[in-house]
């Protein structure tokens, strides 16, 4: 049942545009602090480019470490946008409304952040151009389009483009509201962005059709992106434990798990920071919590399949990797302990916290559960990628280990600051809760008398 009350349109405008028309006192100090962290990481990247990747923990065996883990993590976060916006829009879930914009914007920023990681990881970022352009016509050296490492940027760029378009289409009516409430150069900018929006029936029709079409068209892109990311690993037969057919759906579901959790946490922060209690309500967090139970359980199922069929083959090399992942032993890094922590904090802890309705409606508990999921999902990628590369199989002279160094830790940490900073800056100029979507939800809301109870009801078009 929908909670809260129907608010007048003027109040919705006032409340949701507060983040743009007024600047809270905490805003610039927080943004500055985040900016400083990003600056420190940028300097570190500069040092790394100058010195070489030798200052990281990467070595001749473990060539994909923190950076690639972080790349996959942020790609995963980006899946929240389409999950919440496109899928729930097509499913006509009413409770999606306040979450869609934040999820879509988080998608864009996390994709941008993710794309930075492999560029940094190359060590010589300018060589990234060779992925896209042939660098020696004379000798016929072309990018190998048959490698997932080339499919990957194509898919991510397509996803970034379509997600950006998706956000812009949804923002147009809100730009018009901002155009009508600002003066000076901001008005000029919003006027340009509103593209002549007057809110007539034809414009609404086009906007809604565009939204629905983009929702449907973006779904295959959404699935393909993380599938292709998974194939960066799944196609590699040399690294035992990577070559698994289940990787694609496993990665996609995992991405939705971490992405939706991240959006829930972001929504709770926004509610607290901007006082949007009337818009981001407990019922929304509750519904997302229920969705997350289903998603988490699906993810756990894929995890179990991945592990069982890793062992099923009874192939010596793969069993050695699985032993490294799960069993205690004198291997250097205690991956088995991290494995227990990862499964605990990614599935069991959050699902236990999400099961009781009262806990789903407790914002502190929900925040803890969602942070737990994301820490766990980061660990998941790390534990999926690194032990296989450590190569601790039968020929001991090829063994190696990976101990991340401070530049990697700082750069990875700074990506969180980077995304947070971008989200805050976005909220300063564009509404993070879609005004028109909230108003539409209120208009479609009505009441129905059933027996002695008055229930909230919704007008349904189909």
């Amino acid at each position: 049942m929908q909670e809260g009350k129907v608010l007048p349109a003027a109040q919705i405008n006032r409340d949701l545009l507060r983040s743009i028309l007024e600047t809270p006192r905490w805003f610039w100090p927080v943004v500055s602090l985040l900016g400083l962290i990003v600056l420190a990481a940028s300097i570190t990247v500069g040092i790394m480019i100058n010195t070489g990747l030798g200052i990281t923990g990467l070595n001749y065996k473990v060539v994909w470490g923190f950076f690639i883990t972080n790349f996959v993590f942020w790609i995963g976060i980006s899946h929240a946008g389409v999950m919440l916006s496109a899928i729930l829009r097509l499913a006509k879930a009413e409770w999606r409304r306040p979450a869609t914009r934040a999820a879509e914007v988080l998608t864009i920023f996390s994709l941008m952040t993710a794309m930075i990681m492999p560029i940094i990881h190359t060590g010589r970022p300018w060589r990234i151009l060779y992925w896209a352009f042939p660098y020696d016509f004379a000798r016929g050296i072309w990018p190998n389009i048959r490698t997932p490492l080339v499919w990957d940027p194509s898919a991510i760029l397509t996803y970034l483009t379509s997600s950006t378009l998706f956000v812009i289409i949804a923002l147009v009516p809100d730009f018009a509201v901002l155009r009508d409430r600002t003066t000076g150069w901001p008005k000029l900018v919003y006027t340009l962005l509103a593209m002549g929006w007057e809110g007539n029936p034809r414009q609404w029709k086009l906007q809604i059709i565009a939204g629905v079409l983009l929702s449907a068209l973006i779904l295959p892109v959404f699935v393909s992106v993380h599938s292709i990311v998974s194939w960066d690993f799944g196609m590699a037969v040399a690294i035992k434990s990577w070559h698994s057919t289940v990787f694609a759906p496993y990665f996609v579901v995992g991405a939705v798990h971490s992405g939706v959790s991240a959006v829930v946490f972001a929504m709770i922060l926004l509610r607290w920071a901007y006082g949007w209690q009337d818009y981001i309500r407990h019922e929304h967090i509750d519904a997302l919590g229920r969705l997350l139970i289903v998603v988490a359980t699906g993810w756990f199922y894929f995890l179990v399949m991945e592990i069982i069929f890793g062992i099923y083959g009874l192939e010596g090399d793969e069993l050695a990797v699985r032993a490294l992942q799960f069993l205690p032993g004198d291997y250097g890094v205690a991956y088995n302990v991290w494995m227990i922590i990862f499964v605990g904090i990614t599935y069991f802890l959050p699902v236990i916290l999400w099961l009781p309705k009262a806990w789903r409606r407790n914002l502190w508990i929900m925040s803890a559960a969602c942070i737990s999921v994301n820490v766990g999902m980061w660990l998941e990628r790390y534990l999926l990628f690194v032990p296989g590369q450590a190569n601790k199989q039968f020929q001991t002279f090829t063994w190696n280990d990976y101990l991340p160094q401070w530049p990697e830790a700082l750069i990875v940490g700074a990506t969180f600051a980077f995304v947070s900073m971008l989200m805050l800056l976005f909220s300063r100029v564009f509404p993070l809760v879609p005004l028109y979507d909230i108003k539409e939800g209120d208009i479609l809301r009505t009441e129905m008398q059933v027996g002695r109870r008055t229930l909230t009801a919704t007008f349904r078009e189909d």
Partner: protein, 497 residues
Amino acid sequence: MASETQAHPPAADHGHDAHEHGHFGPEMWVIPEAPGLVAEVNEKQNAPSGIFRMVLLAGAALTILGIVGFVLKAITAGFSDHRAWGFYVAAFAFVFTLTASAPLAACAFRFTKSHWRRPLSRIAEIFSLVSIVNILLFIPALIALPDIGVATESGELMVRRSIWFQELVNPSGWLLAGMIGLSFCSVAILWLAALPDMAQSRHLVSGFRASLYGRLAGGWYGTKRQWQVQKGGLAILGALYFMMVVFVQFLVVSDFAMAMIPGWKDSILPPFYTVISFQGGLATILLVAYAMRRWGGYRDLIGQAPFWAASKVLLGLTLLHTYHLFAFFITYWYGRLEVEQAILNYLMFDSYIGIFWAQLFFTFFIPFPILVSNHARREGWGAPLAAIFIVIGLLLWHIRIFAAAFAAAPAVEGGLYYLPSDAFSFPALLLPVPGATFPDLWDIFMILGGVGIVLLVFRIGMMLLPPLSLWEMKEGSMYQRVDTLIRGRYLVLAKPE
């Protein structure tokens, strides 16, 4: 100023000029009012249409044919060579796949509070009765399953790959326990869901049904507490059933397909099989619903709305099916490992190439455009048409996977199928790639018998129990009304919680 623009969409109007008549017409959604519903359904049950009587006869005839096929197969081939039973296992797996997931549809759509599910719920739940047949069908398949380990003449223990690993536990007991548990759970769901309807109908019917309803629903008076227990029970059983279905499907497809083909190690197969099962289950429900609507006299009770909404879910499942297939294919194809190329050649590109492409057309290339079409979905015939193709395609899928698997497993220890139990590595290979296997007459009889027994049991279930979930229909009629918003007439839905 804000008044300069219309800053919110013209609610639910969305620019459609035709809304005065409704995009689909609100009547499409309206569940009939409660009075008379119980009597009407009882009347239809007591006087089924001619086609429904024919379904009963056809089901019985095909079942007898299947039994004849089974007996003759057992006499001619015996159970010592598992390769003779591939098509039987395919028929069992096909029946199991479609019918085990059907009750789940009722639970899942009840969980998501989908209004349109109401006419479909009982149809889905009646498939629980087929689960009892599944147990019976499963026993010969278990007997035909080759042992995990065999002893050579020298006494050395040779084992094959299995999800039971090398512990040499006898999986048959566990598999059977899983199947029985699944059956119990689904029948419990059916009983709990049908309880209020049986209670209400017990005074309207006579003979065996009156006695049955009296026994099964004697204590139901519809108190608030009883409703709470019933709904809570359905939710808990639904969650339990979901987990059990997924687990038993994992066991079946791993033991009866993957482990039978030397070298096949495929972590996506169990989820793929589950997706296929959901797709097939929903397709089967839609076919039955369409038959009831078209030929059973239920046109007024089963509207177009369930087809319109369920077809979108079927579209999603169809896409998921193809996605899982592609994820399997691309990983194997790209890896270029000899063992994986052999599997691809066997199942897709060489031995079973014809059946593979036929199945792909039936499960994707034909139903996809049908389900994408708004017109086909809206008119109510699109989903059942797509469902027919999907069900045929899934039969082919089961033959391609299960019959092929049983044909590929060597009859005796040898090659790289059975290896010493202390083998350091397990590089089993399907080389040379065997040719396709074809059914004999008894196999065809058994496949037809599998289809027949589903028809027979389901039809008996329809005769015994109200084929529509009356309490859900009545509940639905309370939570809906048609109302005016701006210029259009729309359905208004209440969600109580």
